[in-house]
Symmetry: C2
Subunit: 428 residues, 2 copies
């Protein structure tokens, strides 16, 4: 048996406590699997006196996570504080600078500073592992960077924010509007302190940017992610989509094209019978597409104490076993700067327009769509009591640019009683 | 850049050729990701003159794979010949004995000799990696042994023989019987040379035994797998199952219980709307359940050149990166000998009985089921023109033992016109 691997845990929220629980409960299993005892030397959190349901008495306490990172009796700093800057970044840097590996669940930090931190780690011969930062318990970073290392990856996509998926599936199941479900999610503690991180698609965008870097060998470029959240998804769109055999999911999609790297998070329609369409509640799903392997789909819990701690422990066990490697699957200094490309790949679209009560309104719209080269696959029109008429259109494959052109041409016609809704239908 | 990693490839069938294609086409990508050039030094196969669609002229040729394994210019032997004994085993042993790592897709060899080979490898400080042996392109061995290393695993299960799944889904889609689809699969080259390996559940059993070893830290024990294939699945059971919202899948299930380790492959009913129920054609799916992570489900291609070569390349890339480790996730000498347990966990069952035309036949059967403590969830009875009456029963959860007792008590009553069919309904 080798010397023990000594952890310093910075951040004692749900995940930190989960890691402590596993290290204790599975000590024998972990030692058998890794060939080393895994122990906790020290912990750090903001509030020393909080009852976290685990006895911390046997671990050294540091008020300052940076001091924890610098301790001589720590081999691996487990950064579970969150936040893109501030203590998390300072702690990570202090750990790397004093010769420790870092395991983190911090998607925001890596999405903003991943390139600089990876270069810093690799210059120091250290690792940053971040399985827990993407899709909770799903070992997608490992699958992509190691399992599929023989593949040229063409696309990664998935539902990677459980809170959004929870809200969307509850809206459909309960027939309640977005605001009601947002309140419910807040009450249940499912939302980040800044809820825009969840419902604005930012959190999913952070994760997507990290996956894209691993998938395509490119520098993390979060600012290039086209971000759209779920806050504008209306209950009636969920209902109409369901009527036509679709579900609305907040999808993150990263795709390498001849024009550059497309990265986007947006509510999309997916077939209700597809694996993504059937995804309920807080579960996450990632879809990986490689030239050799074809399509790999992985489903698992996207958050929570156990699943996230499981991902953290996977990284810790790799380090305990002596696995070394780069942060993003190849040396940070060799990661290319991908040219960001706006979404241009054609797809079918779902359109909902509320026609004003004008003669010939529908004809005008159909004409403009035709002139933009957009052909209609399915159309339904209803009539409301107030004389407005909702029109639902599913187009054949068309480009976002053609759609923009058409919508821009429709706007000044004064035939719509409200803003049109356009949602991409994603091939899955 | 480090020295190149030099491969010797033994076996130039579909997968061997796929590996050669990837090594050539992705040379730059592989070098970027692993930090080493990956090159092929030598190849071996039975027939040197066969046109395989790739130019082998630049590689040394060995008629004898054992000689290939012993070459000084080979670092990793890629064993893709198959067969549990004979050349594959001799080649693997020669490779380990002369200081090479082995990457193999050979489930039969490891299912029969995994423990001895793992001990031999680890005594020599060498590795055997076998991602491609289980579920084709799905990196399930890596997910289980590394990604979920922090979990006590409770159950692994899945559809791991694409040929069986192809036959079963085609039976349902085309309304054709087993024999017709068996012929079709043979014609398409989907069957192993010995088709019992596929349709008898043996191949799925090999894979299950390997996964169980990794999941539970136990020695591979293929002989303890309860094997049942798909050759007795009748078209009418597929139809009846569909009518009741189920699909029939050949499931491999390994589960640790207080009584010991259950391992079985058998045709089971799964909900048609479940992920397993929706699995079409040659696709594979594995379900992994751990105490921390909950349930992870992975879907991907179970066979074919690209997917299997992708799995082989994942292992090769790990070795190129310097990853070291044990064969089954912990040292072979520490793997426990699990006590085999016959399936005893309760489950609902699907029963189909063909009643002879006797007064009170159904009452007798219902009485016996009741006496065995088996309660009926749903029942349907039809009447055929020939006066036999098929009865379909879905039971509530019951044990295999209770079911056996009941069926044994029904047999001598002379109320059945044919053997009853009993299929487990698996919770997924």
């Amino acid at each position: 048996m080798n010397t023990p691997l000594r952890l310093g845990i910075a951040g004692l929220g749900t995940v930190g406590v989960g890691v402590i629980r596993i290290v204790r409960a599975q000590a024998a299993l972990l030692a058998a699997r890794t060939g080393r005892e895994i122990v906790i030397s020290a912990v750090s959190a903001r509030n020393r006196d909080k009852d976290r349901g685990v006895n911390l008495g046997r671990y050294a306490w540091e008020d300052d996570p940076v001091a924890l990172a610098r301790r001589d009796d720590v081999d691996v700093v487990v950064e579970l504080m969150g936040g893109s800057d501030g203590p998390a970044k300072a702690t990570t840097e202090a750990a790397l600078d004093t010769g420790k590996d870092v395991v983190t669940a911090n998607k925001a930090m890596l999405a903003m500073h991943g390139q600089a931190l990876a270069e810093r780690a690799e210059a120091a011969g250290r690792m940053i592992r971040f399985e827990a930062a993407v899709a909770g318990g799903i070992p997608v970073v490992k699958t992509l960077s190691e399992g599929l290392a023989g593949n040229a990856v063409s696309r990664v996509m998935g539902v990677m924010n459980g809170t959004c998926n929870y809200i969307l599936t509850r809206m459909e199941a309960e027939g309640l509007g977005y605001n009601a479900l947002f309140e419910e999610a807040a009450r249940l503690g499912y939302l980040e302190a800044d809820p825009r991180l969840d419902v604005g698609g930012i959190d999913a965008g952070h994760k997507l940017a990290l996956l894209a870097a691993v998938a395509f060998g490119t520098q993390v470029h979060f600012d290039a992610v086209e971000l759209e959240g779920i806050d504008r998804v209306a209950l009636e769109d969920i209902r109409h989509a369901a009527d036509m055999g679709y579900r609305i999911k907040l999808l993150g999609v990263a795709q390498m094209t001849a024009r550059g790297l497309e990265q986007r998070t947006a509510p999309c329609l997916v077939p209700a019978a597809s694996a993504l369409g059937q995804l309920e509640g807080g579960t996450n799903m990632v879809v990986l597409e490689g030239d050799a392997v074809g399509q790999i789909v992985i489903r698992g819990a996207g958050a929570g104490e156990g699943p996230t701690a499981s991902a953290v422990m996977g990284d810790i066990c790799d380090i305990a076993r002596g696995t070394r490697g780069t942060v993003f699957g190849q040396p940070a200094t060799t990661l290319a700067q991908a040219k960001p490309a706006r979404s241009a790949l054609p797809a079918p679209y779902y359109l909902r327009m509320l026609l004003a009560d004008r003669p010939g309104a529908l004809a005008k719209i159909a004409t403009i769509l035709g002139e933009a080269g957009i052909s209609i696959n399915r159309m339904r029109q209803y009539r409301h009591d107030d004389d407005t008429a909702p029109v639902l259109i599913v187009t054949h494959r068309t480009t976002p640019a053609a759609l923009e052109t058409a919508l821009a041409a429709i706007a000044p016609l004064d035939v719509l009683a409200s803003e049109p809704v356009a949602l991409r239908i994603e091939d899955v």
